[in-house]
């Protein structure tokens, strides 16, 4: 069976377990499924198995149990068509290699070229576009080792973008990357989502998850919860995923009083704050973009009141 372009795009892991050679069980029975046109956040503490899951999805680690499929066919099939782009957490490449930034990004385009791998105009355009997006156009002729840590990271993000994969896996693409670039990448991911691609991105930046991810997979050595962000990203679930490891500010126990109304200003230095409302549901920064959700919640409250008065 081959993944046909007309079949709807899905990424599914069923009962994936990974045991490292030293006997450590990094993942046990991880199951989730994602549709196309999604940006999904993969969230969990250090050592929860995020990178392990990525490697298992890519087939770099062979799961001791379970299967991974893309559009109901083995990942290998999708890879052969150049559908799957992957940016690892740490690049294990030889930084002294005589290749420049442009060469490396071009390596994302191999799947589109004939077997001699001679780039055509479309390939050059895709590479140029990806380089501009991550702000590396001016550095395109630099040897790959002569870049800063964040720039190196951006090269590999650019390569994944140039690949224009239908499935894009990004393992902590924002770590060590400045705010401007992060925003540029997020904008780009949104565009890719609009084109129907499937994006899975791991991050420790909880506050930005509701801003651009419509799905969330919470993991801690197995999938704890998976689904739409507004359903999964709740205080209860996050508590389960992180235990006591999260810093929090509880308004009801704070000095904020009723006469303050809804006027509370939340400031953080670089990461976006994650704000949860009463009962632990997610609060969004911009009310106007989520009118429907607010209306639903209002209705829910009415219903609850109705019940309690009976």
């Amino acid at each position: 069976m081959t993944p046909a372009s007309d079949r709807p795009l899905t990424l599914a892991a069923r009962g994936v377990s990974v045991t490292y050679p030293n006997g450590h069980i990094a993942l046990a029975d991880a199951t989730f499924a994602l549709p196309g046109g999604t940006i999904c956040a993969l969230v969990g503490v250090n050592g929860s198995g995020k990178s392990t899951l990525f490697k298992a999805l890519m087939g770099f680690l062979t799961p001791s149990a379970g299967t991974v499929t893309i559009s109901d066919a083995p990942v290998r099939e999708a890879q052969r068509r150049g559908w799957v782009a992957y940016v690892p957490q740490t690049e294990e490449v030889d930084w002294t290699f005589p290749v420049n930034v442009h060469d490396v990004v071009m390596m994302g385009r191999y799947g589109y070229m004939n077997f001699l791998r001679i780039p055509r105009a479309v390939d050059r355009e895709a590479v140029a576009d990806a380089l501009r997006r991550v702000g590396l156009w001016d550095l395109r002729d630099r040897q790959i080792g002569e870049l800063s840590g964040g720039q190196k990271k951006r090269v590999f993000v650019a390569r994944a973008l140039a690949q224009q994969g239908r499935v894009i896996l990004l393992d902590e693409p924002f770590t060590g990357v400045d705010v401007k670039t992060e925003e540029a990448i997020v904008t780009l991911l949104r565009e890719l989502r609009a084109e129907g691609r499937l994006i899975l991105v791991s991050t420790h930046n909880l506050g930005s998850v509701p801003e651009f991810c419509d799905h969330v997979v919470l993991i801690n050595r197995t999938v704890l919860a998976c689904g739409p962000t507004s359903e999964v990203f709740t205080a209860e679930n996050l508590q389960r995923a992180f235990g006591g490891a999260l810093r929090q500010f509880d308004l009801s126990r704070s000095t904020v009083e009723d006469h303050d109304g809804r006027q509370v200003t939340v400031l953080t230095d670089d990461e976006r704050p994650l704000v949860l409302g009463q009962g632990g549901h997610l609060e969004y920064r911009d009310r106007s973009a989520h009118e429907k959700l607010v209306a639903e919640r209002e209705a829910g409250k009415e219903l609850g009141r109705g019940k309690s008065s009976e």
Binding site: F60, Q79, E92, F97, P98, M107, G111, R117
Partner: protein, 286 residues
Amino acid sequence: MLQPFSYDYMLTALWVSTLIGAVCGLLSGFITLKGWSLMGDALSHAVVPGVALAYLAGLPFALGAFTSGLLAAAAMSFVKLKTPVREDAVIGVVFTAFFACGILLISLFPAQLDLKSIIFGNILAIAPGDVLQLVAISAVCVAVLVLQWRDLLLFSFDPNQARALGLPVRRLHLTLLFLLSATTVAALQAVGAILVVAMLITPGATAYLLTDRFGRMLLLGSALGAITAFAGAYASYFLDGATGGCIVVLQTAGFFLAFVFGPKHGLLAARRANRRLCLVRPSLEP
């Protein structure tokens, strides 16, 4: 000056050396970047018993050398897989074992086998049949490299990306190993078992110092290999010295020049950059 060109054996030696130099130089870019220098050294020694047996049995020498080299490579990966002994130690154990067997064979049949020509090469007395084998090997190697160099480049630089794109990573690994064995066998005749490894490393290492682009590095390595091989063979006529020795000495001289005068990685370039830096920021001066 044109005297060497008037002898048939010298003409053959010149063009065969040049061809081998070019092919080895082309591959040397991959060998140096992949970190396979020790592997190349090992294979060049491991082919000796195969060559000895082939000559004894009257078979094509390339067949024996190739079989022997692949057997050694297989033995190395098997031992590495089954023991926690470090890779360089495994390579050391296996190739010296093969080489020792070869030496033993040669010493047992001194009448049929010439130790000197196997160990040091003898391009001046190369048989027409051997020339044919060399040309065939070279043609195959060049064809594979021309068709596949970009895939091999990706595999050498970032095997994970190669796998992510669904490239046959295992097959690319074997292809590179095959090319290494084949060129080793080819170069054996020109410079002998002991100096083969220089032909497979020095041009690539020199080219690496001269450019930052992989494609250019391959071409440059090939050109350096060809030029030094030709000049070395030519010089050996006048010096009446070992061809292999002349070629490798010239290659090393080329490396030394690049090492000192290289535009970016050379010693002088580094010093220039340093001086510029000190002019900008005097406080950095010791």
